[in-house]
């Protein structure tokens, strides 16, 4: 993705327009630039930069394409003009009923039927990016705070803060307990926000976590739910990677916890979902807010006017996701392939002398290069990152861009390339680590 560079100062624009909160000057995006200028290609540019900073899921497209081939009738508007016309005119912010039903059903299947989803609570938005911003507008006023566990998806800095004026206060998580969220960390963050005179409006968790690539344990979810209930604040659970958990029984959705509590205190809970990761369709802009709070559902629906999903896309996906035979097969095979990729990369990194956090989900692994840092600082981390980009020609994401409180961790994506390319990346890294051990590489200082 190319980045625009703003050169001229401008008269008469808003503070929001002139602020840096869009976040594009973070190193998270600088690596993308290096990739854009010199992208790897198996044949045409075998020494180019391999993009490992983009959490895309490319492992299961053949299944989608096969579905389209076998379901021509269902995915087209038909021979009659009325099919097309009706679809082109449909701008109701409730969304296509067939599509909402299909989304609810798909979300249930992803959770192995352990939770039920009501289509009437499904609010559609153009991507999870819009869903997270929209929820923030609804739950918090400018100057209020949302607590977010670190490390977190760099995009949150923009999505939750930019136009809303809401602040993010980090819940610090540490490698000593595998970055799990603790009640102490929650309390500490809450108190910290209060001491700065910020009203805390909610906690936002990503489960499974980006960038950790791990699910949140049931016990921890219960603790978080108890915490938000005690403080009378909201809980947003971004479950965008729920379909990428390698073994379905290892994922506990907040929906499951709420059901087990008979939906007591559920009106403070909201789930964000999208098809960008599980189905690999980021271009189609399919996001959803699923809220257990009626007023939030109504308001979110009204706000979705700013960010509706193209009815053409709703129509296509309604057809695809209501085919339970297909979705069942897709979910199962997708998990297996991601798991295999994960094992490949973790094994490969291990051979290169690099450890990763034990993960069980997602399109990436959380790699630990802290033993190789000159100092446990962000600067040292960025130096290694630069070296890896320039010498090894891999674009990976530094933990500091995810606000990780410990230096030396990196997110490495593995699902946005072919198996062959992954092998090339691993080989390069292996060779680099060898050279370094043999003192042949410019020091990492």
């Amino acid at each position: 993705m190319a980045i625009d560079i703003v050169q001229k100062p401008s008269v008469g624009l808003s503070k929001i327009a002139l602020s840096q909160t869009h976040g594009e000057n973070s190193p998270y995006f600088a690596g993308w630039k290096a990739y854009d200028e010199n992208p790897y290609h198996e044949k045409h540019n075998p020494s180019g930069v391999i993009q490992m900073g983009l959490a895309e899921n490319q492992v299961s497209f053949d299944l989608l394409e096969e579905f389209l081939e076998n379901n021509q009738e269902a995915t087209s508007w038909g021979k009659n003009v009325s099919g097309f016309k009706e679809n082109a005119l449909f701008q109701d912010y409730h969304g296509l009923l067939a599509f909402r039903k299909a989304m609810a059903s798909f979300m249930e299947q992803v959770r192995g039927g352990k939770s039920k989803f009501n289509p009437e609570r499904v609010v559609l938005t153009a991507g999870a990016t819009a869903a997270n911003e929209l929820l923030t507008f609804i739950l918090a006023n400018p100057g209020d705070a949302l607590l977010v566990p670190t490390p977190y998806y760099p995009g949150f800095d923009r999505d939750l803060r930019w136009r809303t004026g809401v602040e993010i206060v980090p819940i610090h998580c540490e490698s000593s307990n595998n970055f799990q969220i603790t009640p102490e960390a929650l309390e500490f963050a809450y108190d910290h926000a209060s001491s700065k005179n910020m009203k805390v409006r909610g906690v936002l968790i990503t489960n499974p976590s980006n960038p950790l690539g791990a699910t949140i344990q049931r016990k921890v979810l219960e603790q978080i739910l108890d915490f938000v209930t005690r403080k009378n604040i909201h809980l947003i659970s971004d479950e965008i990677y729920s379909g990428s958990v390698f073994h379905s029984d290892e994922f506990v959705s907040i929906a499951e916890i709420l059901e087990s509590r008979n939906y007591k205190d559920s009106e403070r809970c909201h789930i964000v979902y999208s098809l960008s990761k599980d189905l690999g369709l980021p271009g189609f802009r399919v996001g959803t807010v699923y809220s257990y709070n009626d007023q939030v559902v109504t308001t979110a629906r009204r706000m979705s006017s700013f960010t509706l999903i193209s009815s053409q896309t709703q129509f296509l996906l309604a057809s695809m996701l209501s085919n339970k035979e297909f979705t069942e097969k897709y979910i199962k095979i997708n998990r297996e392939r991601l798991h295999k990729r994960y094992e490949t990369i973790v094994e490969g990194l291990k051979k290169a002398g690099i450890e990763c956090l034990k993960g069980n989900a997602g399109l990436f692994c959380w790699m630990n290069l802290s033993p190789y840092l000159k100092e446990a600082t962000r600067e040292s981390e960025l130096e290694i990152w630069k070296t890896i980009m320039e010498e090894v020609k891999l674009n990976i994401s530094p933990g500091s861009s995810c606000r990780c409180s410990e230096a030396g961790w990196f997110r490495v994506c593995f699902a946005n390339m072919s198996e062959e390319t992954l092998e090339v990346a691993l080989r390069r890294l292996h060779e680099f680590m060898d050279r370094r051990r043999n003192g042949q590489v410019l020091s990492m200082e």
Partner: protein, 487 residues
């Protein structure tokens, strides 16, 4: 399953709990009436005809034919399927280059190729709804304001104000000069804002106008540009109805002004909002466009477009369709012709029964003058009469007050969202109503003469098939009176 919370009102944000969503406006009441009793020629011939929805349904046959002949425009067909993966993965907020090129091409052709648009200035948004909000976020801070000529599209109250905290200040336009925007009205609005300590950041015009159906002449446009340039405020031009101008050559886009007189103003102040919802009839596809002459605004709004990108599946189809000049030129021409025909037919028929409208040649609606039917020239009377139109004549039209019109008695009537037969039914209903009103007036006068009863000057009548005496009786259990204007 839902448990009531203490302080529910404070549990959500101010934005979530205020009225900024705008749905409590009467603009939507009529829709509710329609939703509960929608007209259908066979199954519900006495239902409400929807004339409050500005949709363009006149040219779907042309689009459908094109789609049938171009299966490659869809990524779901065998012909287009090889693109599926690439398109599905593409989430770059610049948008597909071919999409931007096609939009720039279409926008140019809609303006008779009198101007060119730069594809690199095309920024996507979630429909024009998303575009307006994004532009407001870029140009104004909370509490600052845009000037907007009245009457204006009710959605602006939500789109420009709700989440942005920006204010709208009306520039009052009057029927005495056909609702033209005057320099006096602009200065007046600007000064009022200043007196209230509100900083004005821009002027928003819709050209062609919703709800008027008229477009700005070149001189007025130049005057507006001069005004904003002098005040150093932005000019946002919503040209969403550009393709509906029936005589295409007469329409002047702000882009043309800039091209004709490049030194007329600082180009950094000029921004266009566009969409395919009206010209093509694709509101469901959410194709909104921001076109700014200000590089920073292009850059920032593009970053903000992450919150409302156009589905690449749709970008791909639009790119295919709108890059084919034969199709585009023919479509634009046919659409204009059919709209003109529809517009002329309905306004002519209504004129025959003495119902006037503002002279117009654009839009998917006309601005109907029902002032003489109001009991008194007040907005209460307008609303009362509007309820009669919905409940008795069974048409959903939009009352001028919902557009912030400063004069009561005007109504926006949409005509492009139905087939020919339904238009005729609507026309007949209006004609019947006018006819019966006249008949009742005549009979009432006759009755008053012969019976020598003391009637009030204001006669309240109900349009129904009841006998005249029943209607005239003071004991008649009427609760939905028909009003006749005094003037």
């Amino acid at each position: 399953m839902e448990v009531g919370l203490n302080n529910t009102h404070k549990f959500l944000s101010k934005i979530a709990t205020n009225d900024g969503h705008g749905e409590n406006s009467p603009y939507f009441d009529g829709w509710k009436a329609y939703d509960t009793n929608p007209y259908h020629p066979l199954t519900n011939p006495s239902g409400v005809i929807q004339m409050g929805l500005a949709e363009n349904q006149l040219c779907f046959d042309l689009i459908h034919e094109w789609l049938m002949n171009h299966p490659e425009a869809s990524i779901c067909t065998p012909q287009g399927g090889f693109d599926f993966k690439e398109i599905a993965l593409f989430q770059d907020y610049h948008g597909l280059p071919e999409f931007r090129a096609a939009i720039a091409n279409f926008m140019s052709r809609v303006r008779g190729s009198r101007v060119k648009f730069d594809p690199d200035r095309i920024v996507m948004s979630g429909g024009a709804t998303g575009a307006h909000e994004t532009v407001a976020f870029c140009l104004a801070n909370r509490g600052e304001a845009f000037l907007v000529p009245t009457p204006y599209y009710p959605g602006f109250d939500r789109d420009l104000k709700w989440r942005t905290g920006v204010e709208l200040i009306p520039v009052v336009c009057e029927s005495s000069n056909n609702f033209k925007v005057t320099l006096e009205a602009l200065e007046d609005a600007y000064d009022k804002a200043k007196e209230s300590n509100i900083k004005v950041k821009g002027l928003l015009i819709t050209n062609p106008s919703n709800p008027l159906g008229t477009f700005f002449d070149k001189e007025t446009l130049k005057t507006l540009v001069g005004f904003i340039n002098e005040k150093n405020i932005h000019l946002v031009c919503d040209e969403i109805y550009a393709g509906t101008v029936t005589n295409g050559n007469k329409f002047v886009s702000i882009a043309e002004i800039l091209e004709e007189v490049p030194t007329i103003c600082d180009h950094n102040l000029i921004h266009i909002v566009y969409s395919l919802s009206k010209d093509m009839g694709f509101p469901g596809f959410r194709v909104g466009i921001i076109y700014s002459y200000n590089d920073t605004v292009v850059s920032i709004s593009r970053k903000m477009s992450s919150f409302g990108l156009v589905s690449t599946q749709t970008q791909h189809m639009i790119a295919s369709m709108l890059s084919q000049n034969d199709f585009v030129d023919n479509f634009i021409h046919e659409s204009r012709t059919r709209l003109a025909h529809r517009h002329d037919m309905i306004t002519r028929e209504l004129a025959e029964v003495g119902i006037g409208s503002l002279e117009s040649n654009a839009g998917l609606f006309f601005w109907m003058d029902l002032r003489r039917f109001l009991k008194e020239p007040t907005f209460e009377a307008e609303m009362t009469f509007w309820r009669i139109i919905i409940n008795e004549i069974k048409l959903n039209v939009s009352p001028g007050s919902s557009f912030h019109c400063n004069e009561p008695g005007w109504f926006r009537v949409c005509f492009a969202n139905m087939d020919d037969a339904t238009v005729m039914v609507a026309i007949e209903r209006i004609k019947s109503f006018v006819h019966e009103t006249r008949m009742l007036e005549i009979k009432t006068k006759a009755l008053a003469k012969t019976k020598k009863q003391c009637w009030q000057n204001n006669l309240t009548l109900k349009l129904s098939s009841r006998r005249l005496e029943e209607i005239m009786s003071p004991h008649s259990p009427l609760n939905s009176p028909m009003l006749r204007a005094q003037n």
